[in-house]
Symmetry: none
Subunit: 209 residues, 4 copies
DNA sequence: AATGAATGAGAGTTCATTCAT
DNA sequence: TATGAATGAACTCTCATTCAT
């Protein structure tokens, strides 16, 4: 999709508002006001509030899917390296697009818009396929142990990151990091998460129970 | 709080609808209709839609807090046993109260009602305190390793469980379990989760990186 | 009518609330709460909110009518004395029952409840008759001039008093009497009004234009 | 303020309904229905029912204040002439805007909307100032006597007119004028009032008690 | 292509009253 | 006689969307 500046302005504002007030808690009037456009523009450009949400989802999920593709085709890395690279990539994506991942999380719960459900399903399916393939490769190369539950592994990855994203404030407060600039804090938390999850993955992929 | 049958009927219906449509996506009319009560009863009993949500939260968080308390006072278990027991307890709670945990997840994102924010904060604080204490005990008894990041450990626990809860359908489909009765499927997934998370925790609490 | 303590409590509270919030701006719940009785009592005792208003009106207008009757039958006073006595009596009544007169003023404007309209009409008719008779007597005794517009005279009396009642705060502020105790301030204003209106009446009843 | 036709239609309807049913006794639905506009237009144009009332008040009080200003700057009249002109002007205004003055009277009693209270206060203050100035001028020119209570004079003016306005029906009935066309009746009553109040004012401003 | 005006539908809440006890 | 529980109706206001321009 090729969006005009105004359309991108709307999408960006919608993402921000949806992520902090929820879809039903955000009115198109709010979006239009904050985006500095006429209310009618939203229906005019996107058709409806729901379609706006779908456009927003399409835009982000395209981004995300492209990143995954490129990652796995790097032939020079070992399976574990690929997996670790995927972990970092995922951490990076979630932390960079926090707003979108918050929206996605809520949409997974609410589950009302079929188009969104479909998009999420496709993302998830593609994720599962990629990781399954990666793990099978690793198993063939004896890098990974035989029995790996791909879904639980994925849920551990995604759950741990999103849960951390949801509780960033607590982390900041608990570790007395309130005065650290946000950029720096984000870098710190990304590194912590990276080490933590890689450690978990090594256990899941190598150690026998 | 002592609620009448009708009040419980309202709370139960609200929990179901909030969990599947979100707070803003559920109208008090919907709740009243499905609960089979007059629409005015909701304001009459709870004061407002927001207060209804708060009542719902109070009720569940009381439940949950009580469960945690009782668990940690069992003196006959080792620290690891306690931790594992806590894991199972958490899995059980989330799977049993899926609706409530979905609501809580969305509320953590949306973050609008101060009373709810406070309740969630208190639950989280209590969780952190309990687990911190448990881990310190384990470290004193040399059962656990020195360096443990309590928050990341908690996020792993909670994130993994909730993420699994959110994707139960995918799990069912992926593992061809569509024909298994729901009860049985839930038991299976709880066991899988239990083993998985206990394995992770053993790694986190014992193995050096 | 013989009212029980509770009924009087309700009537008194209703008078206070109606006078400061208007009839439609006061809910029976407010009245019941402030009167310390069950909500259902109001319908139970008085039939409805409207009937309560009517009861309130009946009660006060009986009071007021009785006062007028007794006044005019005093045979020892001159016509002017009687008229001046009536002025003072009216000032006293309005200042003592400010709440009721405020309600009555609004009801005269709003004019919706037929029973109230009738009561007000009767009060007014009785007033007009009494004053007409008084003036005719005075004219026969050559105390008063020939041409007197009874209604304008009455409107001057009532209008001046009620307008003053409505603007007591301004009077207090304008004359720097904010620190005078209310009782004392009321006495002062009653005396001012008395002198003022008697002066006007003397002009209206004696001086030729 | 520049209002569109529809807005003026709403304001006019609201004025009529507020004056005959009171603010709380009038629903926005009633106004919208009778004004022939969609119910949502009222919030759309004025923000809320309260704001509509405020707009109505602002509009009328601007009118009224302008009239007063222009009056007092006529240098060719004597003080008494000015005062009499002011009396006529006031009678004219009240009789022409009966609905608004009824609303204002009730609002003075009910006293709930701060914006309205402020507007009324300002009108009153301006009135007092103008009349005070006028009287002082007259006193300097020896046209008026020394001791004049400005507030009681104003209350007599306003009270007498408004009380007459409130009881027009009685006046009509009492003087057997039911068959006189309304326009003609209004002219008659205005003349009566004019003579009556001017007579009172001459007494108040000239005769010693 | 873009928009201010306008709208029907539905939101949460409060209302006066009634009913079973 | 007295009342807590309950209710249908009506309230004000906001919603996403449409339409004429």
């Amino acid at each position: 999709m090729n969006y005009s500046d105004k359309q991108i302005q709307i999408l960006t504002t919608a993402e921000r508002l949806f992520s902090s007030n929820g879809f039903d808690g955000t009115s198109v009037r709010d979006i239009a006001d904050e985006a500095g456009v006429n209310i009618a523009m939203i229906s005019y450009y996107f058709g409806s509030k729901e379609k706006l949400m779908e456009a927003l989802f399409s835009r982000r999920s395209e981004d995300i899917n492209m990143q995954i593709e490129s990652l796995l085709h790097n032939e020079q890395m070992s399976s574990l390296q690929k997996m670790e690279s995927l972990v970092d990539s995922y951490i990076e994506r979630v932390m960079q697009k926090q707003q979108f991942f918050k929206i996605m999380m809520c949409e997974q719960v609410i589950n009302k818009n079929p188009a969104i459900i479909k998009l999420i399903g496709e993302m998830k399916k593609r994720n599962i396929e990629s990781i399954t393939k990666l793990i099978k490769d690793g198993q063939q190369k004896k890098e990974f142990k035989k029995k790996v539950d791909v879904l639980l592994l994925m849920n551990t990855l995604i759950g741990c990151i999103t849960q951390t994203m949801l509780t960033l404030e607590y982390y900041q407060e608990f570790n007395d990091l309130q005065n650290v600039p946000q950029d720096q804090f984000f870098e710190q938390i990304k590194q912590k998460l990276s080490i933590h999850i890689k450690f978990l993955f090594k256990a899941l992929l190598n150690y026998e129970a």
